[in-house]
């Protein structure tokens, strides 16, 4: 089987994100970035499948500015991915909307012909949680999202999804788009010799234009603002008082 893994360079989860002065985005300059944690889980899963000989070749793809090369080398090639494709955007500050990402990945999938496409369930910067689903739709493939378990056997895969209603066990036929959730696996550390080998692995640079996909936004951002600061919690003395406050003050029931 051939695996295509899609990864994204995002602001590191430890950073306290701040709104840009023009209020049209967040400050990204001189801010620590790293591979989207859920995408690291997807890479780890692909590598484990390769170690079990379920997968023969792993190709990683990332859509982003020049510095996305760092996550392709450091978080994909250095962990066992065979080669990488960088869909290069002009600047590290450029954003691409979910549908455009899905279309780009669609074009790449048409060329690479993978049997599984693995990616994180969502990117921790915009939390769109839309690309895997859109991609499956464009490809006409099955989709397995928010997975915490994955067992590939020939032409099908047994998966377990974590949903708000509980765990859902499904069987999907390959090829499939799979999005990975937190408890699927624990990513390994990159070994030093692998970090060195990653420098020599093939990394191809292309543009969205060359795939015939437009990255022109269809959504205009009007304003980005901090969420309201959390007010202190309040203690109540009785259940009745709680219900009253939930009705009249919080207005949630």
């Amino acid at each position: 089987l051939k695996a295509l893994v899609s990864i994204k360079r995002v602001i590191d989860y430890t950073v306290k994100v701040r709104v840009r002065p023009d209020k049209l985005g967040v400050i990204k300059d001189n801010v620590k970035h790293s591979c989207n944690p859920f995408d690291e889980i997807a890479v780890e899963q692909a590598v484990r499948m390769k170690e079990k000989k379920l997968v023969g070749e792993i190709v990683a793809v990332s859509i982003g500015g020049p510095k996305s090369v760092e996550v392709l080398r450091g978080s994909a090639l250095a962990l066992g991915v065979d080669r990488a494709i960088h869909v290069k955007l002009p600047s590290d500050n450029d954003d691409v909307e979910s549908l455009a990402v899905a279309k780009i990945l669609h074009k790449i999938a048409e060329k690479e012909k993978p049997d599984v496409i693995l990616t994180g369930k969502q990117a921790i910067d915009d939390d769109s949680c839309a690309v895997p689903q859109m991609l499956a739709g464009l490809l006409g493939w099955s989709q397995a999202t928010f997975i915490s378990e994955l067992e590939v056997a020939g032409k099908t895969a047994k998966i377990c999804r974590e949903t708000d209603a509980g765990m859902q066990r499904l069987e999907v036929s390959l090829p499939s788009v799979i999005s990975c959730d937190l408890r699927l696996n624990e990513p390994r550390y990159a070994k030093l010799p692998e970090i060195m080998k990653a420098k020599k692995k093939p990394l191809q640079e292309i543009t969205a234009d060359s795939l015939g996909v437009s990255t022109q936004p269809k959504i205009q951002i009007l304003e980005v603002a901090d969420p309201p600061t959390r007010a202190a919690g309040r203690k109540v003395k009785t259940v009745e008082e709680l219900i009253t406050k939930l009705k009249t003050e919080a207005k949630v029931i």
């Binding site: 450091g74 990159a190 030093l192 010799p193 970090i195």
Partner: protein, 416 residues
């Protein structure tokens, strides 16, 4: 090594983490993640129980961190000393005991074997060690001579096809876990330091025994003990390098070791700064966080400045070594400044934390105890000053540096 690629390119990039090439960032990220996830949780236990962090050391080996600068041909990671220094800092930030265990195996054991051993010796004495499967140690110091390394009392006598070693080495890190010790012994005391040779001594050799573990102030997870040799017989070809070259091997090895220890000290210093800065942003006094007080800001500024200066000196020494340049002076400056930065930062961290810095609920007291040894081992600060001054005076003695003429010349006084 990887640094070779950047020889012609602007090395001005090598002054901050943000401007380092990608693979150094990757090493830093990986070691940092390892320290936060694997070492933060165990460091206190390692210290309190004087417990060798066996599982962490095993993982370090699997990740290639026990032989960072050894070529992949001999089981190492095939990287360079800059990568090693960066990794040392991150690992030591998590646990200084783990850091010194890593440093001794890398710099004091693997580096001299890599540099001076024959190919056959490397297969036996380097490959399993650089890959972390076995552990090495470095036996130079003796009860009668520490700084005075040329006055070795341990003897080696050639008897047929074997060397017979007699003597005691003291203060040896990794003594209790090492599979092989590099032992410096004299074959002819009359030749003084030119009579010293280096020997590869498997610790299971009959006649080789260990003293009790020292009860140390800090870095308690690493074992420190005497190596005792009583008619300890090793094969003739366990001589490392040429006969009489022992002192040279020891000195060049210590130069490299100083970069590793500088890295360890930087890690302790950074950990101290981290905890002090974060605490100052939370702790309130006089109606505001103590971070608003100049007294605290002054301390933090001094800590950060000394740390940053020491880091740049360390990277400079590592880059010089990787380039093949003479790096003795740079390494001595790095070790001297990094160790003093560590003790300063750890001291001030306790001061900023106040009472909380004095109790084991916070790691500041451990950093204070761990930091102290960095000014002593692998060359005391006094020895570093000696090395630096000697090199400096040699330079001044061999060049004619112009200085301004005396100010009370008639010319300066003339008013017409």
């Amino acid at each position: 090594g990887i640094n070779a690629e950047y020889m012609g390119v602007g090395r001005a990039r090598f002054t901050s983490y943000a401007t380092l090439p990608q693979e150094y960032k990757a090493i830093r990220d990986m070691s940092r993640q390892f320290a936060e996830q694997e070492l933060f949780p165990i460091a206190a236990e390692v210290d309190v129980q004087h417990k060798f962090p066996a599982e962490a050391v095993k993982k370090l080996g699997e990740l290639g961190l026990m032989g960072v600068a050894v070529s992949q041909e001999y089981g190492g990671a095939g990287m360079d000393y800059l990568a090693y220094a960066i990794a040392m800092e991150e690992i030591s930030r998590g646990c200084a005991s783990t850091g010194v265990i890593m440093s001794v195996n890398n710099s004091l054991y693997s580096t001299p074997v890599d540099k001076y051993a024959t190919h056959e010796q490397k297969l036996q004495f380097l490959t399993p060690f650089a890959s972390g499967k076995q552990l090495g140690c470095f036996g130079l110091t003796e009860p009668g001579n520490g700084s005075d390394a040329g006055a070795a009392n341990t003897t080696a006598r050639l008897d047929g096809n074997e060397w017979v070693l007699n003597g005691t080495k003291s203060w040896i890190t990794n003594a209790h876990e090492a599979d092989v010790a590099i032992v410096f012994a004299t074959t002819d005391k009359s030749l003084k330091h030119k009579g010293i040779s280096a020997f590869l001594v498997p610790t299971k050799t009959p006649g080789f025994s260990l003293g009790n573990k020292e009860d140390k102030l800090g870095i308690r997870g690493s074992s420190t003990a005497n190596l005792i040799m009583e008619n300890c017989r090793i094969p003739k070809d366990y001589l490392l390098g040429k006969p009489g070259y022992g002192f040279k091997i020891a000195m060049s090895t210590l130069d490299a070791g100083r970069i590793g220890i500088a890295g360890q000290a930087l890690g302790i210093a950074q950990a101290s700064l981290d905890i002090a800065a974060k605490y100052s942003l939370e702790r309130k006094a006089f109606g505001n966080t103590i971070a608003k007080l100049y007294a605290i800001q002054l301390k933090l500024s001094q800590m950060a400045s000394k740390l940053e200066a020491a880091r740049l000196l360390t990277w400079k020494a590592a880059i010089a070594k990787d380039r093949g340049d003479d790096f003795t002076q740079a390494a001595a400056m790095a070790k001297l400044n990094a160790s003093e930065a560590a003790t300063f930062c750890a001291h001030q961290a306790i001061q900023i934390l106040g009472g909380m810095g004095y109790v084991s609920d916070m790691p500041a007291e451990r950093y204070y105890r761990d930091a102290r040894i960095t000014e002593i081992y692998e060359g005391t600060s006094e020895i570093q000053h000696l090395v630096i001054a000697n090199n400096l005076l040699k330079d001044y003695g061999s060049t004619n540096v112009k200085v301004p003429a005396a100010p009370h010349s008639a010319k300066a006084r003339a008013t017409d």
